[in-house]
Amino acid sequence: MSLLEIENLSLAIGNRPILKDIDLTVAPGEVVGLVGESGSGKSMTAMTVMQLLPFTAKAAGSVRFDGINILAATEDQMCALRGDDIGMVFQEPMTALNPVKTIGEQVAEGIRWHTKAGRAEAEDRARKILDRVGLPEARFPLARYPHELSGGQRQRVVIAIACALKPKLLIADEPTTALDVVLQAQILDLLRDLVHENNMGLLLISHDLAVVTEMSDRITIMRHGEVMEAGETARTLSRQVHPYTRQLALASMHVPKRRSFFPLEGEMSPKATEGVASGSKAPGTTEMSRSGHSVAFSPSRGETTPLVSVENVSRLYPGRRTSFFGRGAPIHAVDDVSLDIAPAQSVALVGRSGCGKSTLARMILALDNPSSGAVRFRGETISNRGEAELKPARRDMQVVFQDPYGSFDPRQKVEKLVAEPLHLLETKPSQSERREMVAHALHEVGLGPADLDKYPHEFSGGQRQRLSIARAIITRPRLIVADEPVSALDVSIRAQILDLFADLNGRLGIAYLFITHDLTVARAITDEVLVMHEGRIVERGVTNEILDRPQSEAAQALVAAAPDLHRAIARKIQEQG
């Protein structure tokens, strides 16, 4: 008999239909994956099971958990179920814990509430479960506060809270999306072990097909609030009967077509060719850069200066205060890093969270100054320079951030938002010129002139990321630094954005520095990869070579932990026959 049985579930919030005729079951000890893009209703299905919906929500159909009719249950009955028989883990570990309570209090709270245990007994049990999820007492006493833990450690606390009372069902809603791949693998292992130990049912919600495939026995694919396909994981994904399943799988494995950059081809403003068109370039040399040798070092390009050159750069942060007067040893966020990026070259900077990637990127963008060493842009030093001196460099380097929701002022129109970098130009464009330039940039990223007068909230996540890219290319920069530009996007959107990046690289000859912990992104659109670990570059070389045969321990860990749909399906087929 199933633990959780959802039949013909429909849900509306206010007058807006959210879910339609959802069927889903989870048996004890079974892992069921729920996959879909944002807005497909995955989380709302979970929240219906938890009965934590907004008060205007109306559900119809049947949701039975362990024989209890959830849709008819009273709030008191639900309070008794939540945290005791049904546990839940959420996406964002950084904000999922109460900042003013210790981890011990937060884990013990649910135990005390449900078992009526005394403080000492509850703390004892909290200690045990924290040990179990990999937070040993020596380093993580109960009196720790959430802000003293990293994202991965906090997610372990959230799992401890959810699993403290050995629930029959655990719902994990994107539990690893906010974590780097190595942490993701660790957390998934932990969840798998907990399922085996307690014969717990696990409903794993994710937009990442590879993660779900690796983990689940059965899989349910949702779109627009409806179930598209459901069945055994191996069979569903190997046959891909439903077109949407195929579409998702293709998008997950998408590698954009890339073409080499020929400066004389395509729609180029004269400005865009500046500095690149000067050297004599046979197609062969560019080909060479594609096949991996950094352009700056290829013999036929000996005279070309690198676009960016980072020379022995370090960035120190003052150590943690140990007493009122004393401080610990300074922290080397970036430690003696050197690298070059050639014009039109696409470079990936990969590493785990906290390895110093973003600090390095900030220094390359001259948003931060190195403690020692220097960054040159087109041969000119840009470290420790005033804003006025930096203006020409700023014009030629732009940035695209991870979060397409947070990077726009919600009260301004697209025309103004995209035109923002134009103040860097020597001559201020007139009103009509400005509009023309914005329209052109929008066209370049696949948006229309009608979008000029819209506000950011009128766009989807993927469209907003297109807007950020339009804003980045409007000054015709030579370099774009992209900090996890697709990790907040759904797979199909992400495939489109990767295509866009590849296209702009080929057409406009923009060099990229992609900062990412996601190796599929690196593989998809970069020529060279730099692996960063604890502030140092530990490995560098041609992207495919490094990802296929990593040498350093850090690179090996990243490659081993990266979810891969091909590999996951192959393994599932072996397991499930």
């Binding site: 945290g83 959230v158 959810a162 943690r320």
Partner: protein
Amino acid sequence: MTAYLLKRVAIALATLVLASIVVFAVLEILPGDPARLMLGMNASAEQVEQVRTQMGLNDPLLLRYFHWIGNLVVLDFGRSYTYSVPVIDLVRERVAVSLPLALIALALSTLIAIPVGLYAASRQGRFGDTVSMGVSQIGVAIPNFWFALLLIYLFAVWLKWVPAGGFPGWSAGIWPALKALILPAIALALPQAAILARVTRQALIEVLSEDYIRTARAKGMPYRAVLWRHALRNAMIPVLTILGLQFAFLLAGTIIIENVFYLPGLGRLIFQAITQRDLIVVESVVMLLVTTVILVNLLVDFSYAVVDPRLRGRS
């Protein structure tokens, strides 16, 4: 923790020194010779000169400043020109009225505001929220002296439960003294409570949309328990900030209410001292109030650290 607290104390001390310099400087610049003021228009130049020397008014500026500060530290505020009594006695008498009044008003305001804020936040957008916020809007808009008149009419004139004004002094017994303070305290507390309730509601609504509230709900805690145990403490920082500012206001900014109820409080003391150019009194009371405000703010800073462990740093 200690680093945070020591830093706050250092900032408070620096503010205090700066404030004392400003107060001293302003009184130096203001026209009028205290000695002549004391002796009256008919005093001879020699007499004035003698008194000036006696009072140390002819000493160098820096020496006088340190002399003044030194006396303040040992609570020697000098003598009032107009009352001819030590300023400390005047202040002590007035503080005995103003401080209890402020504390009662603050307690009342908090006791009303926090539950109303909690209630409104938990029913956000629904009937109870609209009504309580509507009432609080009226509370913010109506001046406190109008409440005072209303309260006097109702409880003193009509029901005759409490006196309409005046203060019998604490020597008359605790109950009669408290009875004289209760109406002014309510009149002071109502508008403050209205503001505080709105701040509490707003802070709570922000906190209630946080992810950790959902985590707490997923633990099986009922909504009400989540509100008290998880939301309230996180919403305390803006509430404490407003409370600190309100206390400072309640201590010294109550002159209108003191006048309505004929209370001999600090507000009236400053007002009279200013109209009579009794600069020693003004100087002392202003310094006293500045010190109190800085101390209250320091207390608020400390309470932030109690509420929010992130401010304490690694312990």
